[in-house]
């Protein structure tokens, strides 16, 4: 038998082995690595969407972008949008997971779970259109309700008031993203051995103490990874903002992806859009390195 396995390992199988992974590798190389490389190259050229020929221009694109006021506004908006959305999602989802964990009845648990994850299943276009309609400044449900209840004097213009637009978008994003945090934190909570809580209770630990010393250390790695994934997603999100406000009014909800879109597609300046993309990606990579060093530190503590 041993011989047979050995023979199988040598004869022809090294090729077969590669046949299994080759198509997926091709996808990664052609659809992810190649576009990255060409974006880097474009970022040093004056390429446009119209002409096929282009010349190298050195760092000019980067200099132009780093001296562009709109870029810094977009960058600031992205940071606000990411931090605001993420904090909201984590708080709402985390508390939800702890509550769900307390509920004993199976039926109740499943019912809440199904209800709570509905937003997560919404396609971006449906999120955008439903909320746009609910927030509509003429006949929308929410502004009308606020006015009928006497909370506001007139119809609140959630999406066209420059001061309200970004917080409103964040609320929508919290509505959409909290369920994912809830479900995953809840799944992580199930991995904690219950006897530790019982032991803590016998020792007279308070609810907060057992949370800090048992719950938190057990789930922080999962939560950490979730935060990484959500940060990247929210940071790069194009659909929700583009469809709800397209970055307006007057750039007050323009985030980096919208800025890149305006530059590369509307403005047709591929070179400069590429440079902005690379800057965005570099920032994300740095952020993730930071996150992962924290997570690795936790992992070491566990061992």
């Amino acid at each position: 038998m041993r011989e047979r396995r050995l023979r199988g390992g040598v004869n022809g199988s090294s090729l077969t082995r590669w046949l299994f992974v080759l198509p997926a590798l091709a996808v990664v190389v052609c659809l992810l690595i190649y576009p990255l490389v060409s974006t880097v190259i474009y970022s040093f050229t004056n390429k446009t969407l119209i002409r096929t020929d282009f010349d190298p221009v050195g760092f000019e694109n980067y200099i132009r972008i780093l001296t562009d006021e709109d870029f810094f506004q977009a960058f600031g908006n992205t940071i606000l949008w990411t931090i605001g959305s993420l904090l909201g999602q984590i708080v709402v989802g985390f508390v939800g997971a702890l509550c769900l964990n307390r509920i004993k009845s199976r039926v109740g648990k499943n019912l809440f779970r199904i209800c709570a994850i509905i937003p997560w299943a919404f396609p971006a276009i449906a999120i955008a259109m439903t909320w746009k309609w609910m927030l509509n400044g003429i006949q929308g449900f929410i502004p009308s309700l606020l006015m009928q209840l006497g909370i506001t004097d007139g119809m609140v213009q959630f999406l066209s008031d420059p001061d309200l637009v970004l917080p409103t978008l964040m609320m929508v994003n919290i509505w959409f993203g909290a369920p994912l945090i809830l479900v995953n934190v809840y799944a992580a909570l199930q991995t904690i051995p219950q006897d530790q809580y019982e032991a803590a209770q016998i020792d007279g630990a308070s609810g907060w103490q057992s949370f800090r010393h048992i719950t938190a250390p057990h789930i922080r790695i999962v939560v950490g990874l979730l935060v990484v994934l959500r940060t990247v997603w929210v940071f790069n999100n194009f659909d929700i903002i583009f469809m709800m406000t397209a970055g307006g009014p007057a750039g007050s909800s323009t985030t980096m992806p919208i800025y890149i879109y305006n530059m590369g597609w509307t403005g047709r300046m591929v070179g400069r859009a590429s440079a902005a993309s690379i800057l965005l990606l570099l920032f994300l990579v740095l952020l993730c390195i930071l996150y992962f060093s924290v997570i690795r530190h936790w992992e070491k503590e566990e061992k």
């Binding site: 992974v21 997926a24 509550c99 396609p123 009308s144 597609w265 993309s277």
Partner: protein, 278 residues
């Protein structure tokens, strides 16, 4: 005694919190659906009344027949189904290959996956547009399916690796001794064992392809080939638009997504947590 009291208090808070959360979560879906069945006069008259007095199918008729959404639904189905079949096939092969032949590659792959997850779609779409116009694939559904591999395959491989890991190697060795070759072992022995996992993965790929917006917007421009998400977005500019039709169109996009999602929700959530722990 004390313990019981504390638990009941926090239990009450839990019910209250989750009830509010559920209402907030479900309300937009409810509003979307009831708006789709309201007449435009009723919508104008009572913006805060939830249920319509007269349920009407007028909005759905407008969307499907006057605005020809059937074409867009067909396009979305073609693109999403092709993406699902191709991506699941490629990913199942790769996931099995990684688990059986390249176990060390698995760790490297997770890193690559997280790295590629960082690539903004808005960055990738420019090179895609350039390459596709050279290959004459702009404005084709095949082009769109190819591009959709970029986000389907990495995620599907990740999900499937988790499922394939649960297959004991002993079963495969037995089949090999009986004279089956590697490919036969794969599709006759291993694949049936992980079928439920493959189905969930396929559904997940389908939902993502069905929901995709950015690539469909920028890479396909002829109206006979646009997918449903893009068609809903273009409705905004149409003269014919009233919010009732818009909600009817959105309902058509949201319903398949929600049904499929509920079917597989426990699998994808568990997968993320498991993957993260290990």
């Amino acid at each position: 005694m004390k313990k019981i009291r504390r638990l009941s208090v926090s239990g009450g808070f839990s019910y209250l919190y989750l009830t509010i959360l559920s209402i907030c979560a479900v309300f937009p879906l409810l509003w979307l659906l009831v708006s789709a069945f309201k007449s435009s006069t009723e919508m104008l008259a009572n913006p805060t009344v939830i249920f319509p007095k007269d349920w009407t199918l007028e909005n759905f008729k407008t969307v499907l027949f006057t605005l020809n959404f059937t074409v867009n639904i067909k396009n979305s189905l073609i693109v999403a189904l092709s993406t699902t079949v191709v991506a699941t096939f490629i990913s199942a092969l790769a996931a099995y290959g990684i688990v059986r032949f390249f176990p060390k590659l698995g760790n490297v792959m997770t890193k690559i996956l997280i790295t590629t997850y960082m690539f903004p779609s808005i960055m990738l779409v420019i090179p895609y547009a350039v390459v596709m116009s050279t290959l004459h694939l702009t404005n084709t559904r095949i082009g769109l399916v190819l591009v959709y591999m970029s986000f389907s395959v990495p995620y599907a491989v990740w999900m499937l690796v988790g499922f394939f890991k649960t297959v004991p190697i002993g079963i495969e060795e037995a089949a090999r001794i009986d004279g089956a070759n590697r490919l036969q072992v794969f599709y006759k022995v291993v694949l049936p064992l992980v079928a439920p996992g493959v189905v969930s993965t396929a559904i997940y790929v389908f939902i993502n392809a069905w929901n995709e917006f950015l690539y469909a917007l920028l890479l396909v421009s002829s109206s006979s080939k646009t997918t449903i998400s893009v068609a809903v977005k273009t409705l905004e500019g149409a003269d014919i638009l009233n919010w009732g039709s818009m909600m009817a169109a959105s309902a058509i996009v949201v319903i398949p997504s929600i049904i499929f999602f509920c079917l597989i929700q426990s699998k994808i959530a568990g997968g993320l947590a498991d993957g993260a722990v290990k």
